[in-house]
Amino acid sequence: MTFAAERDLASRAIDTARTRGAGYADARFVRRNVEDVFIKNGDLDTVDRSDTYGIGVRVIVDGAWGFAASHITSPAEIDRVAALAVQIAKASALTKSQDARLAETPPAKGTYSTPVQIDPWSLSFEDRVGELMAAESAMRSVKGLRTTRANYQIWREEKLFLSSEGADIEQTFTETGVGISAEAVGDGELQIRSHPAAGGRSQNAAGWEWVRRWDLAANAPKIAEQAVALLTAKKCPQDVRTTLVVGSAQLMLQVHESCGHPIELDRALGTEAAFAGTSFLTTDRLGSFRYGSELVNMRIDSTSPGGLGTFGWDDEGVAATEGFAVKDGIFVGYLMSRETAAALGTLSNGTMRADGWARLPLIRMTNVSLAPGTFGTLDELIADTDDGLFVETNRSWSIDDKRLNFQFGTQIGWEIKNGKLGDMVRNPTYTGLTPEFWGSCDAICDEREWVMWGTPNCGKGQPGQVMHTGHGAAPARFRNVRVGVGM
């Protein structure tokens, strides 16, 4: 693969750290290449290609952690970085209450590469941009828009991981993301519709086939018309309780915020308390707490095809795994590191991930997904609903620091009357407490409606890190949900 020279340098870093007193050391080389293209109002607004490359060295010295990183990879700098990591670990020991201890993991050797059908880097730049410009142009055929946007990102990251325990892993990840959006402004309203999801772009561990899956040009006029129509649509019912059907692209963010984050074991153990917060899923609740209805199954799976959290090994060299966070509505599993797993007396399920070479691996979501149900299609679910609201595509999201009290806003909603979609509503919001909300779930659509979405902007850690996480979801129905808050 691509890291012939770096293997010697990584070994040198580990040797230097060990010589200076590290009981454990690992070294990660990361090379990342990204191309971002943004089109706005018919013009190519931005073309930005970036590459970043460097090494991060993580050590344990006398039971305390240190980490140092550099964009310079000369032998002298490698020696400095390794020595600095040891110096930092020795400073960490000043407050040590107990030694860092790692759960066992076999030292892995191997390679992994994201499977892709159409390598996005193999297409010509003109072809990539041309497809995006056609979609953006199709939105502007609709009158009444203030702003139209379209963007794609293609991403390749190569990693080499070596540890003092003997791990030696090379991995190559490919991602492709895309999104289009239309904005309309008028009479004190700003309305937006986007496709295929919210958040600027929807991303997958995939090639250019991910872009073509969404038929951007065909969907562009529809979302543009919806953005305009939303300006004069009926207001969302205000502060009432009703039945809520949540579309797949919105529900995936609900999964991310109300399941993915609270099952991070570092949060439960208090080590993210200052910034991200803690978790209502405390360790005494593992295996017994009713998180949702019996229909609710949440998977932790770093092997899912297309997931942004799919890999061969995590950034501690632990192999990809699959399992449950919530089984038949009961909370049964955390996202873990080797250190936090040891604290629970178990083995890591491999969820330590770092944002590039300059940052320390943290417990991050891999692919945390709502398993498909058995209800049927979205049309069938709506046909089965007498009265309620169908909401789709995120516009606003907020949740408290224990991940209990949430409030989401979506771009669009429709009333459901007697099993049919009725009037469009604008500015829909809904709010609730996590276990009550998932406890009220009485129907989940089946695999025909299930999509592996991607969240390429999950923030955590200090210094801040942005992670790409995967979330599969199918539309689902929730009873007695409070909607239309504060608008």
Binding site: A69, Q87, V185, T271, G277, P463
Partner: protein, 452 residues
């Protein structure tokens, strides 16, 4: 010890080489270098402790209205040449951007106070660990748990262009923050300065520990509209959200609450400025296009006066550039980066005294736009929420969710604190800082409660 990473001469050399090798009608080179050193603690002990040395060269090349940007962390001779060549080649291939107004011309950069302090740059891992240990000890002595960090960052920014632009500034930033937690309640404090010597971790830990003691066993309080006193930590969030809407780009895209309202009253009697030269902030006299930053009064005693611009937005909308370009990104090209909400006459205690029945909020958590044009934001209170009765803090209350228009809330400004606190350099911020006081507001819409 981490003194300036590369130095002005070296950044000038890198930028100069990039410009020399770029092929196009215009070119711009931005070089940033930084050292991030952060000691993080939780459960009264250091658990993450990191240092990284990072550099990025960005080259933007324009051929007529064809523009391409390349960024690289490789600032070696080969890396510079490769990036310059790639940007030049890409600029030949990209479609035209009809709205591109050309790179801005050079203008003199005015002098400004230094934002670089040697002792911050020279701080060692042991220096930070000792400060962290003081915070942990103060928490432990009261039987509490604390989490937070101490950081000392050093950065340099240089911008050069074919139009004669040269701008360079080094900066240091020292930060400490902590949440202190008891079994049934928590509290927060943080400090930010360019000078590590100005970051008083003793007073910070004392503030959080004392408030944590008062925050135990919070009671239920029904959601509703309440009079509030917002501590500086919460006001910083308001300043950050409103600042993002006070740009020419936000007005152009129809998402600013001051769009079409310059000269009109939009808030209560508060004054909000952008002042890149305030020595109490994180001064830097130029923006990310190397243009001189102007001091701009955005809202004066509640009346919308101005918004800020970068060169492209200014040209597109027929306004003067105010020197507020952000680091290149397609979503937000310009914003106030040195916001100051002018102080008033009152102490924090006097603000609280003025409340018959209301809520004291320490800080907000996970705030997000619900409706940007109306500045409606939702979020939670966190780490110290108290009922105020008859001008006194009565008891802690469980956290609220709020859904509130921020500029409407300022419309009911009843009191302004006299002490400014500096915020900035936080996680996921594009850049910039805020100097804000505590506020007493007539009405704030708490729309939900939680269980703690």
């Amino acid at each position: 010890m981490s003194l300036p990473l590369l130095g002005e001469d070296e950044l000038r050399r890198i930028a100069g080489n990039a410009l020399r090798l770029a092929r196009g009608d215009q070119a711009e080179a931005t070089v940033s270098a930084r050292s991030i050193e952060l000691t993080r603690f939780a459960n009264n002990a250091i658990h993450q402790n990191v240092a990284s040395r990072e550099a990025v060269l960005q080259i933007r090349v324009a051929r007529g209205k064809r523009v391409a940007t390349i960024r690289t962390s490789d600032v070696s001779e080969d890396g510079i040449a490769r990036a310059a060549r790639s940007a030049s080649e890409l600029a030949e291939r990209v479609p035209e951007n009809a709205r591109f107004a050309g790179l801005p011309a050079a203008h003199p950069i005015p002098p400004s106070p230094s934002a670089f302090v040697d002792r911050t740059a020279a701080a060692t891992p042991l220096d930070r660990a000792r400060l962290a240990e003081r915070i942990c000890r103060a928490s432990k002595e009261r039987g509490f748990r604390t989490a937070g960090y101490v950081s000392t960052n050093t950065s340099e920014l240089a911008i050069a262009s074919s139009e004669g632009v040269w701008a360079y500034a080094p900066q240091t930033l020292a930060k400490a923050e902590c949440v202190v937690m008891g079994d049934a309640g928590s509290a927060w404090a943080d400090r930010t300065a360019t000078d590590l010597g100005q970051v008083d971790v003793g007073s910070m830990a004392g503030e959080a520990v004392a408030k944590c003691a008062a925050a135990q066993a919070p009671r239920d309080m029904a959601p509703g509209v309440y009079e509030v006193v917002l501590e500086t930590y919460a006001v910083s969030d308001i300043a950050q959200f409103l600042g993002g809407a006070l740009s020419g780009q936000a007005v152009e895209e129809g998402r600013s609450f001051v769009g079409g309202k310059l000269g009109q009253k939009v808030t209560g009697d508060v004054t909000i400025l952008d002042d890149a030269f305030d020595p109490r902030g994180m001064p830097r006299p130029f923006d990310f296009e190397g243009q001189p930053a102007q001091a701009v009064t955005l809202i004066e005693n509640g009346t919308a006066r101005a918004v800020v611009y970068d060169s492209q937005t200014a040209a597109r909308t027929g306004n003067a550039n105010t020197g507020h370009a952000l680091p290149p990104n397609p979503f937000q090209t310009c914003a106030p980066m040195h916001v100051r909400l002018e102080p008033g006459p009152s102490s924090r205690e006097e603000l609280i005294k003025g409340v018959k029945r209301g809520v004291l909020v320490t800080r907000f958590h996970y705030t997000r736009w619900v409706h940007q044009l109306r500045t409606i934001v939702t979020g939670m209170t966190r780490d110290g929420t108290f009922a105020i009765e008859d001008g006194e803090i009565a008891h802690p209350v469980k956290n609220f969710r709020f859904t509130q228009s921020y500029h409407d809330a300022l419309g009911g400004t009843l009191g302004i604190g006299r002490d400014l606190q500096l915020f900035g350099g936080g996680e996921f911020e594009l850049g910039g800082s805020r100097l804000v006081p505590a506020l007493h507001l007539a009405a704030f819409n708490f729309t939900g409660a939680t269980q703690y």
